[in-house]
Structures are given as structure tokens and as C-alpha cells.
Subunit: 344 residues, 2 copies
Amino acid sequence: MGAKRGAVTLEEVAREAGVSLATASRAINGSARTVRPEIRERVERAARALNYTANAQAQAVARGRTNLVGLVVQDIEDPYFSSIAAGAMRVAEANGLMVSIAGTGRRPDKEIEYAAALRGLRAAAIVIAGSRTDDRDALERLGAELDAFERSGGRVALIGQRRLPVDTVVVANRAGARDLATRLTGLGYRSFGVLAGPRNLLTATDRLAGFTEGMAGAGITLPPDMIVHGEFNRDGGHDAMLELLARRRDVECVFAVNDVMAVGALAALRSRGLDRRVAVAGFDDIATLRDIVPALTTVRLPLARIGAAALEMVLREPAEGPHRRLVVRGEVVLRESTPGVRRG
Amino acid sequence: MGAKRGAVTLEEVAREAGVSLATASRAINGSARTVRPEIRERVERAARALNYTANAQAQAVARGRTNLVGLVVQDIEDPYFSSIAAGAMRVAEANGLMVSIAGTGRRPDKEIEYAAALRGLRAAAIVIAGSRTDDRDALERLGAELDAFERSGGRVALIGQRRLPVDTVVVANRAGARDLATRLTGLGYRSFGVLAGPRNLLTATDRLAGFTEGMAGAGITLPPDMIVHGEFNRDGGHDAMLELLARRRDVECVFAVNDVMAVGALAALRSRGLDRRVAVAGFDDIATLRDIVPALTTVRLPLARIGAAALEMVLREPAEGPHRRLVVRGEVVLRESTPGVRRG
DNA sequence: TTGAAAGCGCTAACAT
DNA sequence: ATGTTAGCGCTTTCAA
């Protein structure tokens, strides 16, 4: 069977069933009751016999639309993004869509490149998670590309990047960090350090800003030398923690702007024998890290729901007019890593 | 600009540049020096002016091939799979390919469904990670679908599923678990328990079998009631650990068939105050878990490399004849979670 | 209800 | 080197 090179085409199915191409198309992929049940049955049998699967590309060209959606993340290996992706993929599956994922490795240029590629694929929609640069130029070019994508008929949703005029799921990083600071000061901490991540990453800077605000609400100021910037990953947290310890030994509580960095910070503290003396808090509440010891105080983000919400938003008919904006708030979860200040 | 609905077509670019469709095609997407630099420049300028991006679907239909590869994983949120995906995506990017990812949620049917969808998309290749069921029927249907996919011109690589006649990256689960058992017995442990995962998951059963072999090599037999089956995730490890404790209190060392389960087991032990008394080992060496306390003894698998290797293998010209098979071995990493038996 | 035929946007012979 | 034209596999008018 299938001696011929290449895939079975609809024409072969039609011939096998003894009907026209058009009828075969209607019977298999077309709309409902325009074809007689008997014929339909015959066509379907032929299709099955030949193991026919419609060429989605050809359908896309003919129909002028695809069932492909694009998802752009920084790094699929990072649990933050893999959870978002999982949520988006569930929605895609529920809607019969295929998902094309691309990882940018945190290079803004790649985002633009992939957006263009997805425009080339005529993707129905594109969701970008993690475009959080504040680089004016890159942002502008991304905006232009997304604009072109929308004009060509696609829909766009961003996660977190509130500076572009498209549908957006906004994560309340600032508010979450503020709440966290409030709770931590409530626990009696007075001397804080922040492992702040990259300077040009909005997610990171928002969390830093929110935390500072929360501290201010308790009448505490964050000294500049208590802020250490670094990479947004485990090693970044580790190294920043060591740097902070080199600068100041009087820190009571450290806020790492994400959980993965917090884990690095804990490792650094452990290597110095300080893990019992310095409290650590993170952000995200990464599922894989919920069992670490000490259990990590953090701000829980419903990551999968965020990914799902972004795709759902973009799949709904566009609300012409202002772009939609869904704000997702995090919830502070206090755990053992911030036991509170012992008095006496 | 772009007042017209829909995307800019090559024809518009050609008209704008005052050349024929064919010339425009050659200048932009075609092979090299068949078009005069001057004209090429003119076409490129027109394309840029109109913000043209080739319709990849139409190209695919015309060329008879795509630059899309499919990746099927069980659950992208699971770090095991997200690392594999990251590796595959790196290779895809290096080769100018787009990656379509699908998650099956561990349902073999979904694997078949997605394979069919990818055949419909005329994907150049498809990599399936985690098809490890031993369900005869599902396996057969998957085999048939992959066969159809290959006959229609696509290439297939499997990760781990050695029972299907296609290119495969085989993870030496058995050997890894055997080595692990050998090392653990060498540490002085004599009484073992195994948190074995699902009965019908080959990855899990292979690891159990290998571990049993390794123990046998040290003259130890694994009593049937020391084996507890359960889910392949954190909760599965947690619950299985509790069940094991309910059955036997004399276990010295527990082997969880993957790291995520091991983390669950550690949590269970901790809840019983036994985390200092029972040693725990896992499998995979998940990056996100490398900093947990106690540091987890495990079998390191180069997951990203495995994903990369699978795609690379399938991208190379098919070695007609027997299907290729790349065996990846894991490496035992002893850490604090298995400190060894104290004598005296 | 069915079929013939004109596209969809692009590539690749085949001419010139 | 460039243009003409016939496809690629499918959908969708438009007739019948």
C-alpha cells in the first residue's frame, strides 16, 4: 500500500470513492449536511482505506487561516515558563489548535524574529511571555512587528509586557512584592536585602520597586548597597547572595525576585553556614520547589492560569477599541524560610 | 499603510518593484545568483516597504516540504520533559525550524492523535518523548500512524520507546538503575524499598528491573512488599513512601524511580520525622532540584542533550536499512541523601 | 445535492 | 537574467 511517494491526496480519495474532488472535500472537511449520507459514508470509507489526512498547509492556503498559534517564551526549561506554556497548551488543545513554541533565550531580537516567523506561518494568534525588556529600540521594533501581525489578521497577547498596545495579561508584580514586604515587616524584620535580577528586566525591576514601597509603608528604607543585581536564574541568586554578604553582614531577610534565585541564595547561605540566620523569600511559587527545606516564603502566581488566560483572551473575538488587560494578582505565602524575628 | 485586509503577498511586492512574480520569488526566497543585484535590491526594498513576509504555508504547499517539526511530550510542565524540549528546540533553531509542541498528559491516544495532526501539517519530522506504555493496542496504532507519517515523507525519532521500529534514542534506564543499586549496596545499605511508579510505564519498570538486578549483584533480594507502585510524580512518590512505611519500618534506603518522586518521598519522610534515618535516591538529576537539602543521590541524565540528539538524528539523512539507535547512559551521582550506613 | 472550475500564495519548470 | 505558466492540495463560488 501507499507505493506512491508522498502523502495521499484528497484527489485520490475522491477517485477511489468515485466522486468529485469538491464532494470529497465537503464530505470530509467541509460544513455539514450539504452531502448525502450515503456518499459521505463512501468517501469516508475511501479516506480510511487510503489512510488519508488532509494537508493542513494546503487547507490553510485555501481557507486563508490556520489552526496554529505561536507561543514565545524566554526559556522553556525555566519552570516559570513551562507552567505558562502548559496552561496555554491546555487551552489550545481544547480549541483544536496546534501550538508552535519558540524560546528566545532572553534575547529581545529573537522575539521579533519569531514573531515574524509566526506571521509567515499565518498563525491565528501569538502569545509572548516574558518580553520584559525596557530597551526602547527593541520594544519599538517588536511593536511594529506585532502591529504587522495584527494587520495581517492575527491576534496578539502579551504576558507581563504592559508597555505595548496589545491585549495583555498583566502580572501584578509590584503589588505582590509590596504585599510581601508588608508581611515580612509584620514578622519583625527590619534589615532587608534584595537580590534584584537584571536592571533592564521589567519583571525584576517591578518586584524590586514594589518591595521597596512595601518597606516604605513600614517606615523602612532600603539602603542602595543592600540591592544586588544579577542574573534572573539560580546562579544569579547564588552569586548575588555572596556579593551581598560580602558587602553587609547585618541583613536579616533577603528578597530574591524569583524562587529560582531564592534557591541559589539559600545554597549560598548554606555554604557560609548562615542559612539559619538569614531569612529568604522568593516570588512565583514554582511547583517543583514547594518541598524544599526550609519551605520557601513566596508570592504565589497562578502560572498555568496565566498562560491559559492569555490564549483564551486572544481567542475571543477582539474587543474593538482599547486593548484588553487582565490583571493577575499574586498571593503571599509565608513559610519556614521567613520564621520571623525572635525577640528577647 | 496596509489598508487592505490580510497580508501582503508576493505579487504586490513584484508589482511594486516592477518585476515579475517569478523574479520577485527568486530575489527573496529563491536560490542565489540567478537574479541581478540591482533588481534584487529593488525587490528587497519593495518587500521591506510593504513589510512583506512570505506565506510559509503557501511555500510549503508549493515546495512540498515544511520547516516544521513536531515534538510530543507527556507534560511540558514536568522538568524532565521541559529539558528535553529545550534541547530539541535549540537544535531546531540552529536549523531554522519551527517547533510545534504537544502535551499528551500521559494518554497514549493523544500521542496518536498528535502524530496524525503532524502528518496533516506535513511536518518534516516528529520526535516523541515519553511514549513508554506497554499497552499492545496503543503501541500498534502508534506504530501504524508513524509508519504512515514516514511513508508520506516525514521522519520520526522516539525517545525511550525501544519497541517501535523507528530511529530511537534509548535511555539506559536499566543500566543506570543497576549502577545505582551497586553503588548503594557498596555504601553498606542492605534493606531497600522501591517507589516504582506506574506498572505500565516502561521507563518506570525498566528502572525497577535494573535496580533489582544491581541488588542481586550484591546478593540482595528485593522483597515484593518493598515495592510500592504509584504515580510518576511528586504526589506519587509521597504517597508511595507513606504506604511503604505503613508496610515496613525497617527500610534503610529508598529508590524512587525519578527525582520528582524522590522529593515527594523526602517530604513524606520529613512529615514522619524519618528523613535523617532513611536514605533516598532518585533518577534524572533534574536541574531545578540540585539544591535541595539533603542533596539528592541520583542518576544524572543529560536530558537536554537527549532531546537535541533525537532531533539531530532525525534531521540527518535517513540511514536506509535498520533504524538507528543511540544509547544514552546515565551517571550515578552520590550525594548527601544517601550518606551510607554508619557502622558501630 | 453534486461537479466544474477558479482561486489561495507560492515555486519551479520551461521559454525567451 | 527574466518572464510565462503550470502546478502544489485544498476550498469555494457558480452552474447544472
